[in-house]
């Protein structure tokens, strides 16, 4: 499981960074989304990967070894919500820039050929 998570974080980050550096605004926003997926997985991984373990204490034995860390899961949830909102906001600005400049280049004008 570790290798799959690590690989997916790596692939998402690499694709995200590459797209972020591209000149079209749509590529930038997709890049940012991919990066935020990678970061969310990373936060999740920081709570240690454990399968079949509940994040809520169900019995009074209190043996923490059988439970997953609930905090990173809560953090991921917050990060997802905030990331979603800011991406939506960026989308609006992107559309405004497209409307004002007539091009989807990040600098607001086409590069000279």
């Amino acid at each position: 499981m570790e290798i799959i998570i690590a690989l997916s974080i790596g692939v998402l980050t690499a694709s995200g960074v590459w797209l972020l550096l591209r000149p079209r605004t749509f590529q930038v926003i997709i890049g940012l989304s991919l990066l935020s997926y990678a970061v969310n997985l990373f936060i999740f991984g920081m709570g240690r990967l454990r399968s079949g373990a509940a994040p809520v204490l169900t019995d009074s034995s209190g043996d923490l070894a059988t439970f997953a860390d609930p905090l990173p899961q809560a953090l991921v949830l917050t990060a997802i919500v905030i990331g979603f909102a800011t991406t939506a906001l960026f989308l609006v600005v992107l559309l405004a820039a497209r409307g004002l400049s007539g091009t989807d280049h990040v600098d607001g004008r086409e590069p000279k050929p």
Partner: protein, 545 residues
């Protein structure tokens, strides 16, 4: 302590939140009602900040914080805490004062140049206050996002293609920086198992050597996020463009936003990597020093190179950030107090400069026409005539503007007799006598380099400001005297008067800063205060029994 003052710590977050949310309900055309609500709320916020400052100043010697507020009454390392200490209280007052000035300035015309100015203004203040108050790393992220989201909207206020283009870059860079912020926080949590800043202080020295690498990686990634905000050299190219493109009152308010980055570095770095941090003590110090010096040089060169006054002001933000970072990274604890003094003085001066530029350039720039068009589009035109009668046109406008410009130049360049000079002088004194006056008398190479950088950047600022001043005031080719209203001149004069007050009352202000710095350098008091705060519920039960 009575019941209501106990809850005062959360008021700087809740008040702007409710005011902003309430104003969302109002119709977009009710400008004057919204302006009144916003003004009352910001005045109230200033008052609260001043009360908190007084409380923090009166905190007994053994403690670091005036009050620790447990949110939802969860005990300290588990729940989120708000900590009002001297540094936080000082930043609260600074942001409230800037907010007040920017708001009064915007009431003349800017607040009608687009929608939702007032709610976003309040949300920005909420994010700023929250970021200064919180004692929890992830909560800091949340407040950063709140203030950034509001700043995205404000940066675009008044629209125009230049603003949208600069805003696009600004948002993209800050979204990327936020992701780095999350990676840093997650790494630190993964290693230490806590997000509470006070709890982190106790756990950092106990880490195993292998985990220490991970912690330092996390802190470095987190630092990049903060330094992007503060505008350290390779991460700062977005800053002058965005600040220059933003509307004047918004740019003035943004002057404190780069200081949020500095604040976070100062607070977290001294807490986590102070002298007591075991193997990680002073991690990254030379990065701060070198980065600060590079930022300082870049900002000074940028000031010389810019033709436009607004861009020049943007670069002066970088000069201020660079000076602060270099002072923090200089490795001299005595330099922290002058750095804090410099931070307050330069933030006020830069904000006043941003406001002033709009007034000076009003007669020359084509931007005024664009503003008129947007005002029409948003229905400002019908209110305009009545407004003209209300505003009083100042006589001898140019003389007043010129005088303010001169003061701004003195403050930014750090020339005597104003507070900018006092701050730099105190900073150099601290660097040359790290152990206090009458020390062993050897002066480190770092101190010489920093002295040279400070003097040269001051020289660059003088040249740039003098050139801009000559062009604006002494070569009036075909310009008309700009129409300036009293409520536009008032905030500029107020901010400059505050700087002058800081000059006259330098003694008490500096002793406050020295006390602040002493407590920042001894994080044990902060940790004790936060972790030993009793729950209110527990106390109530005891009383009931």
């Amino acid at each position: 302590m009575t019941a209501w003052t106990e809850h005062l710590a959360i008021a700087p977050v809740i008040l702007p939140l409710f005011t902003g949310a309430a104003m969302l309900m109002l119709n977009e055309r009710r400008h004057s009602l919204k302006a009144t609500i916003n003004l009352v709320s910001t005045l109230l916020l200033t008052l609260i900040a001043l009360i908190l400052l007084r409380e923090a100043d009166a905190a007994p010697a053994g403690t670091a914080a005036a009050s620790v507020y447990l949110l939802a009454d969860w005990p300290a390392p588990f729940g989120i805490v708000l900590v009002v200490d001297r540094l936080a209280a000082m930043m609260l007052v600074l942001s409230a004062v800037l907010g007040l000035a920017a708001l009064i300035f915007s009431l003349a015309r800017w607040h009608r140049a687009g929608s939702y100015f007032h709610p976003m203004f309040q949300f920005l203040l909420m994010g700023l206050n929250g970021a200064f108050l919180t004692g929890d790393l992830f909560n800091l992220f949340v407040f950063f996002e709140v203030l950034l989201a509001a700043s995205y909207g404000l940066a675009l206020h008044g629209v125009g293609s230049l603003r949208v283009k600069a805003g696009l870059h600004y948002i993209a860079i800050n979204l990327a920086a936020s992701l780095l912020f999350l990676i840093g926080v997650a790494l630190i949590y993964g290693v230490t198992g806590t997000l509470n800043m006070a709890d982190l202080v106790t756990r950092v020295p106990q880490l195993a050597a292998g985990d220490r690498v991970l912690l330092e990686t996390g802190a470095a990634v987190l630092g990049i996020a903060f330094l992007t905000k503060a505008g350290m050299w390779p991460l700062c190219f977005w800053l002058p463009t965005t600040y220059a493109a933003a509307a004047a009152p918004v740019a003035a308010l943004f002057a404190i936003m780069s200081k949020v980055g500095i604040y976070a570095v100062l607070r977290l770095w001294l807490l986590l990597f102070g002298a007591d941090a075991g193997g990680s003590a002073f991690f990254g110090e030379s990065w701060l020093l070198v980065g600060g010096l590079l930022t300082l040089s870049f900002g000074a060169i940028g000031m010389l190179a810019s033709q436009d006054m607004a861009r020049m002001a943007g670069y002066s933000v970088l000069v201020s950030s660079g000076t602060l970072l270099a002072a923090i990274g200089s490795g001299v604890p005595a330099a922290t107090a002058p750095a804090l003094f410099y931070m307050a003085s330069s933030t006020l001066a830069i904000a006043a400069f941003f406001l002033l530029i709009e007034l000076v350039e009003r007669s020359r720039r084509a931007g005024a026409d664009i503003l008129a068009v947007t005002l029409e589009a948003f229905g400002g035109a019908e209110v305009e005539p009545e407004d003209d009668e209300a505003g009083v046109v100042i006589p001898a406008t140019m003389a007043l503007l010129g005088l303010s410009f001169l003061l701004c130049a003195l403050l930014l360049a750090g020339l005597p007799p104003v507070s900018g000079f006092l701050a730099k002088f105190a900073l150099v004194t601290a660097l040359f006598n790290p152990t206090g006056l009458g020390g062993d008398g050897t002066i480190s190479a770092v101190a010489w380099v920093l002295l040279a950088a400070l003097l040269l950047s001051g020289l660059a600022a003088v040249i740039a400001m003098a050139r801009a001043g000559v062009r604006a005031f002494w070569v009036p080719v075909g310009t008309t005297v700009p129409r300036v209203r009293v409520i536009e001149m008032l905030p500029v004069a107020g901010l400059l008067a505050l700087c002058l007050t800081m000059t006259v009352a330098a003694g008490p202000v500096m002793s406050y800063m020295q006390d602040t710095a002493a407590r920042l350098h001894a994080p044990a008091g902060y940790v004790d205060d936060v972790l030993s705060t009793p729950r209110t519920g527990g106390r109530l039960q005891e009383v009931g029994q």
